[in-house]
């Protein structure tokens, strides 16, 4: 017979299944690996159950476990998850935020109103990993800066800067592709 605590624990962790699967799809890029990662995450969560206080932040706790599980898997396979950073993006990642702001705003870019799912996916794939993680956790998963700092194990100021910079790069990638698609330079 299950204890009351165990039943509550199950309820609290199970309601994050869809979000965890979404994050796993983002990390693994395919359904099979994502499903395996979700199951491994729940197995690891069960192993660490005693570290979780009921009624606290199950979402951030599970996402932290998922990320660590994923990174351990990558390490074992000697693979490093990376974004496809080109020279231009490399430059964007090095410059100070005030310098980046000088590049914009670009009010001439009106075409961002008609974004397609493939454009968004491609732009996110092109973000270097550290920016991609922060932007996805904030903009897709809706976590606070403080939760993201815990999940990624980085200072909150770094989270903020990666989100600002990541959105900036994303916006410019989307705008550049649209310009090309519309016959611009």
């Amino acid at each position: 017979m299950k204890s009351k605590r165990r039943k509550s624990f199950e309820q609290e962790v199970l309601c994050h299944l869809d979000r965890l699967y979404g994050y796993a799809m983002h990390l693994c890029r395919n359904n099979e690996d994502a499903s395996d990662l979700v199951q491994d995450t729940y197995l690891n969560a069960l192993k660490s159950e005693k570290q979780y206080s009921l009624g606290t932040n199950a979402g951030a706790w599970l996402f932290t476990i998922m990320r660590n599980t994923f990174l351990n898997k990558m390490r074992k396979m000697s693979r490093k998850p990376t974004g496809m950073a080109g020279e231009w993006i490399e430059q964007m990642t090095r410059e100070d935020i005030p310098e980046l702001i000088k590049h914009g705003p670009d009010p001439g870019v009106k075409c961002l109103d008609n974004l397609l799912k493939d454009d968004i996916s491609r732009a996110i794939d092109n973000l270097p990993e550290e920016f991609r993680d922060a932007v996805v956790l904030c903009d897709v998963q809706g976590f606070s800066y403080s939760d993201i700092a815990k999940i990624l194990d980085i200072p909150i100021g770094t989270v903020r800067s990666r989100i600002h910079r990541g959105r900036f790069i994303l916006r410019h990638l989307l705008a550049d592709w649209e310009k090309v698609a519309m016959g611009g330079g």
């Binding site: 699967y21 979404g22 979700v38 729940y42 197995l43 069960l46 996110i124 903009d139 916006r171």
Partner: protein, 73 residues
Amino acid sequence: MTCEDAHLNMHDYISGELASEHHKNLMDHMDECPNCQEYFRQTQHIQTTMRDFMQYEAPFELQTAVSSILANA
């Protein structure tokens, strides 16, 4: 407020992290600055589109597998 400050604040606003006492200054700046207003609108639009496009539902097989993991623990 400068455009530079407005940009920093608008990202925090979109993230739901801008302290409420700064909201008015940001909105006042955007009322007077069409460039920042447009930048804000586009950035918010990208976020909303990304959130809409990247929502997933766990496949039925995965739901069953996870329920089984929890039930048999």
